[in-house]
Symmetry: C2
Subunit: 503 residues, 2 copies
């Protein structure tokens, strides 16, 4: 029927225009956030907080307008092609989660969260967990209330997890975590007990930060970053921000550690590559948006670990590094490779962890969060539980809560988000295994600095898909099987056994 088709087309157009507008407000918020982290003078803070909060509440109101629901219902009862159906599915999901939560609760959560941040900061600075306790306890209450509003029949922690990853069941992720726990703990113990001394001081010395920035730019050049749609700046906590038209990388510089800025830069390059690979013509719609935070993290971990931490990459890049830093002239490729893959067995800080112990930090947080949300753990029991699990998993106990359960800011805004970091690493390994089958000697391409085949493969298979597939569908579509820990465990076992000469 021509008329009905025409009608559904124009209903669809209306929904699309609506979601584009909402996305534009979100992207504007992203620019304000980037500016705040990289350029804004300190004094701008009070006004910026108000601007961000105005945009966020406007975005919420636009999304939850009655008309959004009407358009969705109309479209759901009509004929839609695959792409349209995906768009409607994603907007419906976003809409439901927004409309289910009373606005007073949204406001109270936002306020409690913003009060909790300075309290957390103070608690961390003073090493006094008690200062943070009442906020954390109240946040648990409010987050549980929110979760129950969204789905009273589901475990609240599951609902929280689904905020970040709606299409991978928590049970699947937990099964993968079990496998990681079983595989990683013995490997880490093995390294702690039998690990040969590796070249951890290959890059000892002072590396001036201006030259480090040139090295970071060199790395982005080599990897093929599109400077016409991006830029590099400094931020205390590196992040990526932007869209397919403008995806910006940030990094930080430590004059004692030139590898830190480099891995951070390559990590954020991975995130930027995902954004830049999204469809230009679908800007502002779910088809032109990234799939989920886990998939996003797979892209950053892919470039950071499967490219930036390979021997092939250092064969390619070490000469460039030495051109900038002649002081490193004696470092060999083997030493560089070992230095960038060093396992810090006495480290207690997640963000300073290596590719191996990192995931034990994540698993620990997921377990504690879950116990806390379930009421199995009282707020004051968290520090002891933290230290107990650190000892179990990594054989090291932080000397202070600041270096333990107070190290991350995440709980001031949500629970159930940490898992995606590990999902990203696991899927990155699975992607590398697929790429090894589908591309002609990808490791050789890295050695030659010919990154286009790898970049293009990821763009075609992941980035250009946007949110057309759900996360589990996308994983199967691209790799031919569901998410599995096997490739990651094989990869780290082989890599670290070789580096630490374990047998």
């Amino acid at each position: 029927m021509a008329t009905s088709e025409h009608e559904s087309r124009s209903t669809y157009d209306e929904l699309e225009a609506r979601i584009k507008r909402i996305s534009n407000v979100g992207n504007a918020t992203g620019v304000l956030y980037w500016d705040q982290q990289t350029k804004m003078p300190e004094g701008g803070t009070p006004a910026r907080a108000k601007q961000l909060s105005a945009l966020q509440s406007i975005q919420h109101e636009l999304l939850t307008e009655e008309r959004t629901g009407e358009l969705l219902s109309e479209l759901e009862s009509g004929e839609l092609d695959d792409e349209q159906a995906a768009v409607v599915r994603e907007i419906r999901r976003w809409y439901e989660r927004a409309i289910d939560v009373p606005s007073e609760l949204v406001t109270e959560l936002a306020e409690t969260s913003s009060e909790a941040q300075p309290a957390w900061q103070e608690a961390k600075a003073e090493d006094e967990f008690e200062t943070f306790e009442p906020y954390l306890d109240r946040l648990r209450e409010l987050q549980i209330e929110r979760a129950e509003q969204i789905d009273p029949d589901k475990d609240p922690y599951e609902v929280m997890f689904e905020d970040g990853e709606p299409y991978l069941p928590l049970s699947t992720v937990e099964r993968i975590f079990d496998e990681l726990r079983d595989g990683l703990i013995p490997l880490i113990e093995d390294i702690q007990e039998n690990g040969a001394d590796i070249a951890d001081d290959a890059f000892a010395g002072i590396y001036d930060t201006e030259t480090q920035e040139e090295v970071a730019r060199d790395a982005l050049d080599v990897l093929g970053y599109d400077w016409n749609r991006g830029r590099l700046d400094t931020a205390p906590h590196p992040f990526m921000s932007g869209t397919q038209f403008d995806a910006r990388v940030t990094t930080r510089y430590d004059e004692n550690d030139p590898l830190d800025s480099l891995t951070a830069t390559i990590h954020e390059f991975g995130h930027a590559t995902y954004q830049l690979g999204l469809r230009d013509d679908a800007y502002g719609t779910p088809l032109g948006d990234s799939r989920s935070s886990g998939i996003h993290e797979s892209q950053s971990r892919f470039w950071e670990n499967h490219v930036g931490r390979t021997k092939a990459f250092w064969e390619l890049f070490l000469p460039t590094f030495k051109d900038r830093f002649p002081q490193a002239d004696d470092v060999t490729v083997d030493e560089a490779y070992k230095a960038i893959n060093q396992v810090f067995t006495d480290n207690t800080i997640r963000v300073e962890a290596d590719e191996l112990t990192y995931h034990m930090h994540i698993i620990l947080r997921s377990e504690i969060e879950k116990e806390f949300v379930a009421g199995e753990l009282d707020v004051e029991e968290i520090p002891a539980r933290w230290n107990e699990l650190m000892d179990d998993y990594l054989g090291v106990v932080p000397g202070t809560d600041s270096a333990g359960c107070l190290q991350d800011i995440h709980w001031t805004s949500r629970f159930g988000g940490f898992q995606n970091y590990t999902v990203g690493s696991v899927f990155a390994a699975q992607l590398w295994a697929t790429i090894e089958e589908e591309l002609d000697e990808p490791m050789e391409r890295i050695r030659e600095g010919d990154f286009a085949p790898i970049r293009d493969w990821l763009t075609e298979n992941i980035h250009q898909q946007g949110q057309r597939y759900t996360t589990d569908e996308l994983i199967e579509e691209v790799t031919g099987e569901p998410l599995t820990a096997d490739y990651f465990l094989d990869y780290v076992t082989e890599k670290y056994e070789a580096i630490y000469e374990l047998d």
Copy 2:
């Protein structure tokens, strides 16, 4: 009556919350614009245009919601203190101008304006006025239609002028322009005919732009710019952007002309000082916002001309300049003073004009605009009319339309805005005269680099007032008399007669 007072207080609070929200969207738009001009990679253009347009339309919708009108009417029929009455007056004005214009017309104007910009760019690049003609003609039609929607009983050009300056009658401004025309033309002719050769090549040579940036920072330091609430960046067309919490200066650098970046920096510093002087506690309301573009320009012109172009300032600043640029070691204060005040009698470009000829460029534009809007001038007659008036006023005719009637982008967005540049200069001179009476030897303070008394006086008398007074009220309140050209004419006559040794 306690109840009624309470009621009107809560109605007022609701209006205030509403206007703060709208202002926050506007300020977010300002951040996006600043970013676009200073940091955004080229490729970001399409997405940024969409983000800006979304925020602008949202701001318009929030302002024109029925509830805004209801709150205004309620408050207007009740008791309000002076500040509240000013807030209601300003919001009413903004609301009426927004609500009077049908949204289709708003959209058509925005679209025509954004299509006109590349057409203007092309016309200017190719020196082909014909390319721009149809757009300019259509813009005239649409702008007249808009003006008639706002006030069908008023001359449309007057309505257009009132967009930027609602509280100074156009007739007042035109009377001042007549006085300027009468005073300036003979002075300019005198300089052209009898002007002694002044030291226009005192700063000949190449000045590297990195060092120029250091000089610009020195100047901002000396003037007392609050770096905790601001920053300095480069932009092709210098501008200031921000709020009382974060007011950013931009400038540009020309290696052949170190005075250009310096005057641009000091000019934008003046704008920033206005923003930074606004009341923190009134952020987001008319009481914490600048009065009008004419008053804003008075602050930039005050610092640029009455401070930055004085001999006293160069006595203070030339040693700093020479520290950065030893190549200028032989330049004397007198030479620097003359160089920064040089009259370029054969210049045809407004933005390169000196303090004297500049206003003839403005008067010419105002006359042509007015004739064009009144239908006394057809679009194709503009170039000839332009050249005729240039000859009359400045005795010089541009060789091309690109250097003539195509030089400014302004007409692609509006008519009736140029006057405020001259209002700013005229009021700046009036302010200086008042300051000379009220402060203890202000010129001595400049010579000593003690800018606080001047800055504080402006902050107290102008900035902290926000929009409490209307423009004409503010001018009288601060200087004791209405806007007058007298002080400006006395100032330039005395200054330029001395520099050019005219009698």
